[in-house]
Amino acid sequence: MSTTTEGTSAVQAKVEAKLIPIYIMGKRYEVPESLTIMKAMEYAGYKYIRGCGCRGGVCGACSTVYRKPGDYKIYTGLACQTVVEPEMYLTQLPFYPALRNTYEFSELEGKPEEVFELYPELFRCVACNACTKVCPMDVEVLDYISALKRGDIKAAAEISFDCIQCGLCASRCFAEMPQYHIGQLARRLNGAYLTPRAEHLKTMVANIEAGRFAEGLDELKAMDTDTLKKTYQERELEPATAGDDWTPKESGYL
Protein backbone atom coordinates (compact mmCIF):
# COMPACT_ATOMS: atom_id res chain seq x y z
CA MET A 1 0.00 0.00 0.00
CA SER A 2 1.48 3.22 -1.03
CA THR A 3 1.44 6.12 1.28
CA THR A 4 1.94 9.58 0.14
CA THR A 5 3.69 12.23 2.06
CA GLU A 6 1.91 14.70 -0.06
CA GLY A 7 -1.08 16.54 1.21
CA THR A 8 0.63 17.93 4.20
CA SER A 9 -1.50 20.95 3.80
CA ALA A 10 -2.52 20.57 7.39
CA VAL A 11 -0.98 23.54 8.98
CA GLN A 12 0.68 22.62 12.13
CA ALA A 13 1.37 25.60 14.23
CA LYS A 14 4.65 24.84 15.84
CA VAL A 15 5.43 26.81 18.94
CA GLU A 16 9.13 27.03 19.28
CA ALA A 17 9.75 27.71 22.91
CA LYS A 18 13.19 28.93 23.74
CA LEU A 19 14.91 26.43 25.98
CA ILE A 20 16.96 27.60 28.93
CA PRO A 21 19.18 25.60 31.24
CA ILE A 22 18.21 25.12 34.87
CA TYR A 23 19.67 22.87 37.54
CA ILE A 24 17.29 20.71 39.50
CA MET A 25 19.01 19.27 42.57
CA GLY A 26 22.32 19.84 40.87
CA LYS A 27 21.44 18.19 37.57
CA ARG A 28 21.21 20.24 34.40
CA TYR A 29 18.06 20.29 32.28
CA GLU A 30 16.92 22.39 29.36
CA VAL A 31 13.38 23.60 29.80
CA PRO A 32 11.08 26.07 28.00
CA GLU A 33 11.67 29.53 29.41
CA SER A 34 8.04 30.43 30.07
CA LEU A 35 7.30 27.55 32.41
CA THR A 36 6.92 27.74 36.15
CA ILE A 37 9.41 25.73 38.18
CA MET A 38 6.74 23.12 38.80
CA LYS A 39 5.89 22.72 35.13
CA ALA A 40 9.57 22.77 34.27
CA MET A 41 10.27 19.91 36.65
CA GLU A 42 7.44 17.92 35.14
CA TYR A 43 8.76 18.76 31.69
CA ALA A 44 12.11 17.39 32.80
CA GLY A 45 10.44 14.15 33.75
CA TYR A 46 9.85 14.52 37.47
CA LYS A 47 6.58 13.15 38.71
CA TYR A 48 5.13 14.81 41.79
CA ILE A 49 3.89 12.77 44.68
CA ARG A 50 5.04 15.35 47.28
CA GLY A 51 5.96 18.98 47.00
CA CYS A 52 2.90 19.82 44.96
CA GLY A 53 -0.58 20.76 46.08
CA CYS A 54 -2.99 23.39 44.95
CA ARG A 55 -0.82 24.63 42.06
CA GLY A 56 -2.37 27.98 42.87
CA GLY A 57 0.06 29.63 45.31
CA VAL A 58 -1.84 29.12 48.55
CA CYS A 59 -1.16 25.70 50.02
CA GLY A 60 2.56 25.94 50.82
CA ALA A 61 3.50 22.48 49.53
CA CYS A 62 5.87 23.51 46.77
CA SER A 63 8.32 25.86 48.51
CA THR A 64 11.49 26.04 46.49
CA VAL A 65 14.94 27.35 47.30
CA TYR A 66 17.21 28.50 44.50
CA ARG A 67 20.37 30.41 43.73
CA LYS A 68 21.62 32.34 40.75
CA PRO A 69 25.16 32.32 39.38
CA GLY A 70 27.42 35.10 40.59
CA ASP A 71 25.05 35.89 43.44
CA TYR A 72 25.52 34.71 47.02
CA LYS A 73 21.91 35.23 48.02
CA ILE A 74 19.33 32.59 48.74
CA TYR A 75 16.13 33.04 46.80
CA THR A 76 12.82 31.34 47.48
CA GLY A 77 9.51 31.02 45.77
CA LEU A 78 6.58 28.72 45.26
CA ALA A 79 7.30 26.30 42.42
CA CYS A 80 3.80 26.67 41.03
CA GLN A 81 4.09 30.46 40.83
CA THR A 82 7.73 31.17 40.05
CA VAL A 83 8.86 31.28 36.43
CA VAL A 84 12.21 29.67 35.64
CA GLU A 85 15.28 31.78 34.93
CA PRO A 86 18.40 30.74 33.04
CA GLU A 87 21.00 29.00 35.23
CA MET A 88 18.60 28.78 38.15
CA TYR A 89 20.00 26.32 40.70
CA LEU A 90 17.13 24.91 42.66
CA THR A 91 15.68 22.33 44.96
CA GLN A 92 12.35 21.95 46.62
CA LEU A 93 11.86 21.78 50.35
CA PRO A 94 8.54 19.95 50.56
CA PHE A 95 8.88 19.27 54.24
CA TYR A 96 10.93 20.66 57.09
CA PRO A 97 10.45 19.14 60.55
CA ALA A 98 8.82 21.56 62.95
CA LEU A 99 6.94 20.24 65.91
CA ARG A 100 3.61 21.69 66.82
CA ASN A 101 2.86 21.51 70.51
CA THR A 102 -0.43 19.94 71.46
CA TYR A 103 -2.86 22.02 73.43
CA GLU A 104 -6.49 21.96 74.40
CA PHE A 105 -7.65 25.05 72.56
CA SER A 106 -10.88 25.40 74.49
CA GLU A 107 -8.87 25.73 77.70
CA LEU A 108 -6.89 28.70 76.44
CA GLU A 109 -7.92 32.30 76.92
CA GLY A 110 -5.77 34.31 74.54
CA LYS A 111 -3.17 35.40 77.11
CA PRO A 112 0.43 35.98 75.96
CA GLU A 113 1.71 33.66 78.69
CA GLU A 114 -0.08 30.79 76.99
CA VAL A 115 2.04 31.32 73.89
CA PHE A 116 5.20 31.61 76.03
CA GLU A 117 4.38 28.38 77.79
CA LEU A 118 3.75 26.40 74.63
CA TYR A 119 6.74 27.77 72.75
CA PRO A 120 9.45 28.97 75.19
CA GLU A 121 11.96 28.81 72.33
CA LEU A 122 10.30 32.03 71.17
CA PHE A 123 12.71 33.83 73.49
CA ARG A 124 15.70 32.49 71.63
CA CYS A 125 14.99 34.75 68.69
CA VAL A 126 18.00 36.95 67.93
CA ALA A 127 16.30 39.09 65.28
CA CYS A 128 18.61 37.79 62.56
CA ASN A 129 15.78 38.21 60.04
CA ALA A 130 16.64 35.03 58.13
CA CYS A 131 12.98 34.04 58.38
CA THR A 132 11.64 37.20 56.78
CA LYS A 133 14.24 37.02 54.02
CA VAL A 134 13.28 33.48 53.11
CA CYS A 135 9.50 33.82 53.17
CA PRO A 136 7.98 33.27 49.71
CA MET A 137 4.84 35.18 50.73
CA ASP A 138 6.68 38.29 51.96
CA VAL A 139 5.36 37.85 55.47
CA GLU A 140 7.31 39.94 57.97
CA VAL A 141 8.13 36.99 60.19
CA LEU A 142 10.55 38.85 62.45
CA ASP A 143 7.89 41.45 63.15
CA TYR A 144 5.27 38.96 64.25
CA ILE A 145 7.71 37.02 66.40
CA SER A 146 8.76 40.32 67.99
CA ALA A 147 5.12 41.20 68.56
CA LEU A 148 4.58 37.89 70.33
CA LYS A 149 7.62 38.36 72.55
CA ARG A 150 6.06 41.55 73.83
CA GLY A 151 2.67 39.91 74.25
CA ASP A 152 0.84 41.47 71.28
CA ILE A 153 -1.12 38.50 69.90
CA LYS A 154 -3.39 40.67 67.79
CA ALA A 155 -0.52 42.31 65.91
CA ALA A 156 1.12 38.92 65.38
CA ALA A 157 -2.12 37.54 63.95
CA GLU A 158 -2.46 40.44 61.56
CA ILE A 159 1.15 40.42 60.39
CA SER A 160 1.21 36.65 59.84
CA PHE A 161 -2.04 36.61 57.88
CA ASP A 162 -0.55 35.60 54.53
CA CYS A 163 1.43 32.68 55.94
CA ILE A 164 0.87 29.45 54.00
CA GLN A 165 2.79 27.23 56.42
CA CYS A 166 5.43 26.25 53.90
CA GLY A 167 8.10 25.80 56.60
CA LEU A 168 10.95 27.75 55.03
CA CYS A 169 11.18 30.10 58.01
CA ALA A 170 11.64 27.20 60.41
CA SER A 171 14.32 25.75 58.15
CA ARG A 172 16.44 28.90 58.43
CA CYS A 173 15.77 29.81 62.04
CA PHE A 174 18.89 30.48 64.11
CA ALA A 175 16.94 29.89 67.28
CA GLU A 176 15.38 26.64 66.01
CA MET A 177 11.81 27.70 66.53
CA PRO A 178 8.78 26.71 64.44
CA GLN A 179 7.67 30.23 63.54
CA TYR A 180 4.67 29.22 61.48
CA HIS A 181 3.20 27.04 64.23
CA ILE A 182 3.57 29.91 66.68
CA GLY A 183 1.98 32.28 64.18
CA GLN A 184 -0.91 29.91 63.69
CA LEU A 185 -1.48 29.71 67.42
CA ALA A 186 -1.54 33.51 67.53
CA ARG A 187 -4.09 33.68 64.71
CA ARG A 188 -6.29 31.07 66.37
CA LEU A 189 -6.15 32.83 69.74
CA ASN A 190 -6.86 36.16 68.12
CA GLY A 191 -9.82 34.88 66.18
CA ALA A 192 -11.37 32.87 68.97
CA TYR A 193 -10.69 35.00 72.02
CA LEU A 194 -9.46 38.47 71.19
CA THR A 195 -11.54 39.65 68.28
CA PRO A 196 -14.72 41.36 69.43
CA ARG A 197 -17.83 39.26 68.94
CA ALA A 198 -20.70 40.48 66.76
CA GLU A 199 -23.30 41.20 69.40
CA HIS A 200 -26.10 41.84 66.90
CA LEU A 201 -25.48 38.38 65.45
CA LYS A 202 -25.84 36.86 68.90
CA THR A 203 -29.12 38.66 69.36
CA MET A 204 -30.44 37.53 66.00
CA VAL A 205 -29.51 33.91 66.63
CA ALA A 206 -31.26 34.07 69.98
CA ASN A 207 -34.33 35.52 68.29
CA ILE A 208 -34.37 32.75 65.72
CA GLU A 209 -34.00 30.06 68.35
CA ALA A 210 -36.78 31.65 70.34
CA GLY A 211 -39.06 31.05 67.38
CA ARG A 212 -39.51 34.63 66.29
CA PHE A 213 -39.61 33.66 62.64
CA ALA A 214 -41.34 30.30 63.12
CA GLU A 215 -44.77 31.48 62.06
CA GLY A 216 -43.57 33.09 58.85
CA LEU A 217 -41.45 30.08 57.93
CA ASP A 218 -44.33 27.70 58.58
CA GLU A 219 -46.54 29.86 56.36
CA LEU A 220 -44.04 29.64 53.52
CA LYS A 221 -43.54 25.91 54.02
CA ALA A 222 -47.29 25.33 53.77
CA MET A 223 -47.57 27.08 50.39
CA ASP A 224 -47.73 25.17 47.13
CA THR A 225 -45.11 25.87 44.50
CA ASP A 226 -47.16 28.32 42.45
CA THR A 227 -48.21 30.42 45.42
CA LEU A 228 -44.64 30.39 46.64
CA LYS A 229 -43.36 31.59 43.29
CA LYS A 230 -46.01 34.31 43.17
CA THR A 231 -45.27 35.44 46.71
CA TYR A 232 -41.58 35.60 45.89
CA GLN A 233 -42.09 37.60 42.72
CA GLU A 234 -44.38 40.06 44.49
CA ARG A 235 -42.14 40.56 47.48
CA GLU A 236 -41.38 44.06 48.55
CA LEU A 237 -37.88 45.18 47.67
CA GLU A 238 -35.93 47.95 49.34
CA PRO A 239 -35.51 50.62 46.68
CA ALA A 240 -31.95 51.22 45.61
CA THR A 241 -32.14 54.85 46.62
CA ALA A 242 -33.76 54.23 49.99
CA GLY A 243 -32.39 56.23 52.90
CA ASP A 244 -31.85 55.12 56.49
CA ASP A 245 -35.41 55.92 57.38
CA TRP A 246 -37.02 53.49 54.95
CA THR A 247 -39.19 50.81 56.49
CA PRO A 248 -41.01 47.97 54.74
CA LYS A 249 -44.77 47.84 54.73
CA GLU A 250 -44.67 44.47 56.41
CA SER A 251 -42.81 45.33 59.58
CA GLY A 252 -43.77 42.37 61.70
CA TYR A 253 -40.37 40.69 61.51
CA LEU A 254 -38.20 43.69 62.19
Binding site: P112, A127, C128, N129, K133, D143, S146, R150, G151
Partner: protein
Protein backbone atom coordinates in the same frame (compact mmCIF):
# COMPACT_ATOMS: atom_id res chain seq x y z
CA UNK B 1 11.90 68.05 69.29
CA UNK B 2 10.61 64.58 69.72
CA UNK B 3 12.83 61.63 70.56
CA UNK B 4 12.30 57.94 69.93
CA UNK B 5 11.12 55.77 72.78
CA UNK B 6 12.20 52.14 72.85
CA UNK B 7 10.02 50.11 75.27
CA UNK B 8 11.42 46.60 75.32
CA UNK B 9 9.33 43.40 75.49
CA UNK B 10 8.52 43.25 79.17
CA UNK B 11 7.12 46.78 79.38
CA UNK B 12 4.04 45.85 77.39
CA UNK B 13 2.96 43.11 79.77
CA UNK B 14 4.53 42.42 83.15
CA UNK B 15 6.13 45.86 83.48
CA UNK B 16 3.19 47.89 82.21
CA UNK B 17 3.44 49.83 85.46
CA UNK B 18 6.90 51.07 84.44
CA UNK B 19 5.83 52.12 80.96
CA UNK B 20 2.48 53.73 81.65
CA UNK B 21 3.69 55.70 84.66
CA UNK B 22 6.68 56.87 82.61
CA UNK B 23 4.65 57.94 79.60
CA UNK B 24 2.24 59.87 81.79
CA UNK B 25 5.09 61.49 83.71
CA UNK B 26 7.00 62.43 80.54
CA UNK B 27 3.87 63.96 79.05
CA UNK B 28 3.39 66.00 82.23
CA UNK B 29 7.03 67.13 82.10
CA UNK B 30 6.71 68.13 78.48
CA UNK B 31 9.17 65.53 77.24
CA UNK B 32 7.95 64.56 73.78
CA UNK B 33 8.59 60.94 72.92
CA UNK B 34 7.38 58.81 70.05
CA UNK B 35 7.29 55.07 70.54
CA UNK B 36 9.05 53.37 67.66
CA UNK B 37 6.28 52.07 65.41
CA UNK B 38 8.33 49.04 64.50
CA UNK B 39 10.84 47.46 66.86
CA UNK B 40 12.16 44.08 67.91
CA UNK B 41 13.47 42.68 71.16
CA UNK B 42 16.98 44.05 71.76
CA UNK B 43 18.20 40.84 73.37
CA UNK B 44 18.33 42.15 76.96
CA UNK B 45 22.01 41.25 77.40
CA UNK B 46 24.97 42.31 75.35
CA UNK B 47 26.97 39.55 73.73
CA UNK B 48 30.43 39.40 75.27
CA UNK B 49 32.06 37.02 72.81
CA UNK B 50 34.47 38.85 70.54
CA UNK B 51 33.67 36.81 67.46
CA UNK B 52 29.91 36.81 67.97
CA UNK B 53 28.12 39.34 65.83
CA UNK B 54 24.75 37.69 65.36
CA UNK B 55 23.63 38.78 68.83
CA UNK B 56 24.52 42.38 68.04
CA UNK B 57 22.10 42.40 65.11
CA UNK B 58 18.98 42.80 67.23
CA UNK B 59 19.90 46.07 68.99
CA UNK B 60 21.47 47.51 65.82
CA UNK B 61 18.27 46.84 63.93
CA UNK B 62 16.39 48.90 66.52
CA UNK B 63 18.87 51.75 66.20
CA UNK B 64 18.31 51.74 62.43
CA UNK B 65 14.58 51.98 63.10
CA UNK B 66 15.20 55.06 65.25
CA UNK B 67 17.15 56.71 62.49
CA UNK B 68 14.41 55.86 59.99
CA UNK B 69 12.05 57.98 62.09
CA UNK B 70 14.43 60.88 61.69
CA UNK B 71 15.34 61.02 65.36
CA UNK B 72 18.85 61.32 66.71
CA UNK B 73 18.15 60.15 70.25
CA UNK B 74 16.48 57.07 71.66
CA UNK B 75 15.31 56.88 75.26
CA UNK B 76 14.72 53.73 77.26
CA UNK B 77 13.14 52.98 80.63
CA UNK B 78 14.43 49.48 81.19
CA UNK B 79 18.05 49.57 82.22
CA UNK B 80 18.85 46.23 80.58
CA UNK B 81 17.63 47.57 77.24
CA UNK B 82 19.61 50.75 77.85
CA UNK B 83 22.80 48.78 78.43
CA UNK B 84 22.34 46.58 75.38
CA UNK B 85 21.41 49.37 72.99
CA UNK B 86 24.15 51.68 74.25
CA UNK B 87 26.89 49.08 73.97
CA UNK B 88 25.76 48.02 70.50
CA UNK B 89 25.73 51.66 69.49
CA UNK B 90 29.29 52.12 70.74
CA UNK B 91 30.43 49.08 68.84
CA UNK B 92 29.01 50.38 65.59
CA UNK B 93 30.63 53.74 66.26
CA UNK B 94 34.08 52.52 67.20
CA UNK B 95 34.80 49.15 65.65
CA UNK B 96 35.29 49.63 61.92
CA UNK B 97 35.71 45.99 61.01
CA UNK B 98 32.67 44.76 62.91
CA UNK B 99 30.60 47.66 61.64
CA UNK B 100 31.44 46.65 58.11
CA UNK B 101 30.57 43.00 58.71
CA UNK B 102 27.30 43.78 60.45
CA UNK B 103 26.21 46.21 57.75
CA UNK B 104 27.12 43.68 55.08
CA UNK B 105 25.11 41.00 56.83
CA UNK B 106 22.07 43.22 57.26
CA UNK B 107 21.80 43.69 53.53
CA UNK B 108 18.10 44.37 53.73
CA UNK B 109 18.64 47.42 55.98
CA UNK B 110 20.46 50.71 55.41
CA UNK B 111 23.97 50.98 56.85
CA UNK B 112 24.44 52.22 60.39
CA UNK B 113 27.53 53.77 61.96
CA UNK B 114 26.56 54.61 65.52
CA UNK B 115 25.31 58.11 64.80
CA UNK B 116 22.59 58.04 67.42
CA UNK B 117 22.57 58.84 71.09
CA UNK B 118 21.15 56.25 73.50
CA UNK B 119 19.89 57.56 76.84
CA UNK B 120 18.08 56.25 79.86
CA UNK B 121 15.36 58.44 81.35
CA UNK B 122 17.49 59.03 84.45
CA UNK B 123 20.45 60.53 82.64
CA UNK B 124 18.12 62.36 80.27
CA UNK B 125 16.50 64.02 83.26
CA UNK B 126 19.86 64.89 84.73
CA UNK B 127 21.64 66.10 81.59
CA UNK B 128 18.92 67.30 79.22
CA UNK B 129 16.05 68.26 81.46
CA UNK B 130 17.78 69.34 84.66
CA UNK B 131 17.00 68.64 88.33
CA UNK B 132 16.00 72.25 88.99
CA UNK B 133 13.42 72.21 86.23
CA UNK B 134 12.16 68.86 87.54
CA UNK B 135 11.86 70.24 91.10
CA UNK B 136 9.64 73.04 89.82
CA UNK B 137 7.15 70.54 88.44
CA UNK B 138 6.78 68.57 91.65
CA UNK B 139 3.29 68.98 93.09
CA UNK B 140 3.36 66.27 95.77
CA UNK B 141 6.88 66.21 97.25
CA UNK B 142 7.59 62.78 98.70
CA UNK B 143 8.57 64.28 102.05
CA UNK B 144 8.86 61.73 104.76
CA UNK B 145 9.46 58.78 102.46
CA UNK B 146 12.82 57.09 103.01
CA UNK B 147 13.85 55.69 99.68
CA UNK B 148 16.73 53.42 98.85
CA UNK B 149 17.62 53.92 95.20
CA UNK B 150 18.68 50.55 93.84
CA UNK B 151 20.93 50.92 90.81
CA UNK B 152 21.65 47.32 89.97
CA UNK B 153 24.30 46.57 87.34
CA UNK B 154 23.30 47.72 83.92
CA UNK B 155 23.05 51.45 84.54
CA UNK B 156 26.60 51.63 85.86
CA UNK B 157 28.68 48.90 84.25
CA UNK B 158 30.73 48.71 82.09
CA UNK B 159 32.24 52.19 82.23
CA UNK B 160 31.63 52.93 78.56
CA UNK B 161 27.87 53.16 79.12
CA UNK B 162 27.79 54.11 82.81
CA UNK B 163 25.43 56.89 83.79
CA UNK B 164 27.67 57.66 86.73
CA UNK B 165 30.76 56.37 88.53
CA UNK B 166 30.10 52.69 89.34
CA UNK B 167 31.48 52.75 92.88
CA UNK B 168 29.73 55.81 94.23
CA UNK B 169 26.90 56.85 91.94
CA UNK B 170 24.62 59.74 92.78
CA UNK B 171 22.30 60.16 89.81
CA UNK B 172 19.44 58.07 91.17
CA UNK B 173 19.79 59.67 94.61
CA UNK B 174 19.68 63.12 93.03
CA UNK B 175 16.53 62.13 91.18
CA UNK B 176 14.81 60.97 94.36
CA UNK B 177 15.96 64.13 96.18
CA UNK B 178 14.41 66.22 93.43
CA UNK B 179 11.15 64.36 94.12
CA UNK B 180 11.43 65.42 97.75
CA UNK B 181 12.18 62.01 99.22
CA UNK B 182 14.77 61.23 101.85
CA UNK B 183 17.49 59.25 100.12
CA UNK B 184 19.45 56.52 101.85
CA UNK B 185 22.33 55.19 99.77
CA UNK B 186 22.85 51.71 101.12
CA UNK B 187 26.03 49.73 100.40
CA UNK B 188 24.42 47.01 98.31
CA UNK B 189 22.58 49.44 96.04
CA UNK B 190 24.96 48.62 93.21
CA UNK B 191 25.14 44.89 93.82
CA UNK B 192 23.68 42.54 91.24
CA UNK B 193 20.25 41.08 92.05
CA UNK B 194 21.09 37.81 90.32
CA UNK B 195 19.72 38.83 86.95
CA UNK B 196 19.14 35.93 84.55
CA UNK B 197 20.40 33.42 87.11
CA UNK B 198 16.81 33.38 88.32
CA UNK B 199 16.46 30.96 85.42
CA UNK B 200 19.72 29.02 85.70
CA UNK B 201 20.36 28.99 89.44
CA UNK B 202 17.22 30.38 91.09
CA UNK B 203 18.42 29.66 94.61
CA UNK B 204 21.63 31.60 94.06
CA UNK B 205 19.68 34.53 92.64
CA UNK B 206 17.27 34.40 95.56
CA UNK B 207 20.14 34.53 98.04
CA UNK B 208 21.84 37.58 96.52
CA UNK B 209 18.48 39.37 96.31
CA UNK B 210 17.81 38.49 99.93
CA UNK B 211 21.19 39.93 100.92
CA UNK B 212 20.40 43.17 99.12
CA UNK B 213 16.99 43.46 100.68
CA UNK B 214 18.33 42.71 104.14
CA UNK B 215 20.93 45.42 103.69
CA UNK B 216 18.23 47.87 102.67
CA UNK B 217 16.18 46.89 105.70
CA UNK B 218 19.16 47.47 108.00
CA UNK B 219 19.31 51.04 106.78
CA UNK B 220 15.64 51.66 107.64
CA UNK B 221 14.63 52.02 104.03
CA UNK B 222 10.88 52.19 103.61
CA UNK B 223 10.77 51.86 99.84
CA UNK B 224 13.10 50.53 97.19
CA UNK B 225 13.16 52.34 93.86
CA UNK B 226 14.50 50.68 90.74
CA UNK B 227 14.61 50.83 86.95
CA UNK B 228 14.68 47.26 85.71
CA UNK B 229 11.85 44.68 85.42
CA UNK B 230 14.22 41.82 86.17
CA UNK B 231 15.44 43.51 89.35
CA UNK B 232 11.80 44.12 90.20
CA UNK B 233 11.12 40.41 89.81
CA UNK B 234 14.11 39.31 91.85
CA UNK B 235 13.80 41.91 94.58
CA UNK B 236 10.06 42.49 94.58
CA UNK B 237 8.01 39.61 93.32
CA UNK B 238 10.21 37.00 94.95
CA UNK B 239 10.02 38.56 98.42
CA UNK B 240 7.47 35.95 99.55
CA UNK B 241 9.79 33.17 98.47
CA UNK B 242 12.63 34.86 100.35
CA UNK B 243 10.57 34.78 103.51
CA UNK B 244 9.94 31.06 103.05
CA UNK B 245 13.58 30.24 102.58
CA UNK B 246 15.52 32.72 104.69
CA UNK B 247 15.32 34.09 108.17
CA UNK B 248 14.26 37.64 108.67
CA UNK B 249 13.68 38.68 105.08
CA UNK B 250 12.25 42.18 105.28
CA UNK B 251 9.04 43.26 103.65
CA UNK B 252 9.89 46.34 101.62
CA UNK B 253 7.63 47.81 98.93
CA UNK B 254 9.39 48.07 95.59
CA UNK B 255 8.61 50.79 93.04
CA UNK B 256 9.70 51.75 89.60
CA UNK B 257 11.31 55.17 89.62
CA UNK B 258 8.69 56.46 87.20
CA UNK B 259 5.84 55.45 89.48
CA UNK B 260 7.28 57.63 92.23
CA UNK B 261 7.85 60.36 89.66
CA UNK B 262 4.24 60.21 88.51
CA UNK B 263 2.91 60.44 92.07
CA UNK B 264 5.27 63.32 92.87
CA UNK B 265 4.00 65.13 89.77
CA UNK B 266 0.51 64.84 91.20
CA UNK B 267 -0.75 62.35 88.62
CA UNK B 268 -3.45 59.84 89.43
CA UNK B 269 -2.35 56.50 90.88
CA UNK B 270 -4.19 54.78 88.02
CA UNK B 271 -1.39 55.59 85.59
CA UNK B 272 0.98 53.80 87.93
CA UNK B 273 -0.85 50.47 87.84
CA UNK B 274 0.12 49.57 91.38
CA UNK B 275 -1.80 46.32 91.00
CA UNK B 276 1.35 44.98 89.31
CA UNK B 277 3.51 45.90 92.31
CA UNK B 278 3.52 44.14 95.63
CA UNK B 279 0.37 44.49 97.74
CA UNK B 280 1.79 47.07 100.11
CA UNK B 281 3.01 49.47 97.42
CA UNK B 282 -0.07 51.62 97.12
CA UNK B 283 -0.79 51.41 100.81
CA UNK B 284 2.53 52.91 101.83
CA UNK B 285 2.08 55.90 99.54
CA UNK B 286 -1.45 56.43 100.79
CA UNK B 287 -0.30 56.32 104.41
CA UNK B 288 2.13 59.13 103.64
CA UNK B 289 -0.69 61.14 102.09
CA UNK B 290 0.92 61.26 98.67
CA UNK B 291 -2.19 59.98 96.95
CA UNK B 292 -5.07 62.44 96.78
CA UNK B 293 -8.30 60.53 97.08
CA UNK B 294 -10.58 61.90 94.41
CA UNK B 295 -13.99 62.70 95.82
CA UNK B 296 -16.49 61.80 93.10
Amino acid sequence: MSISYYPGCTLKTKAKNLELSALAAMAELGIEVEELPRWNCCGAVYSLADDDLIHIIAPVRDLIRVRERGHDTVITLCSMCYNTLARANNLMKNDEEKRYTINMFMDEEPDYAGELRVVHLLDYLRDDYGWDKLKEKIKVPLNGLTVGPYYGCTLLRPKEVALDRPDNPTVFGEFMTALGAKVVDFPMATECCGSYQVLGNPDAALKVSYDILTDAGKHDIEALALTCPLCDYNLGRRQNLMRDKFEGAPEIPVYYFTQLLAIALGLSPEVCHFELNRENALGLLKSKNFIQEVVA
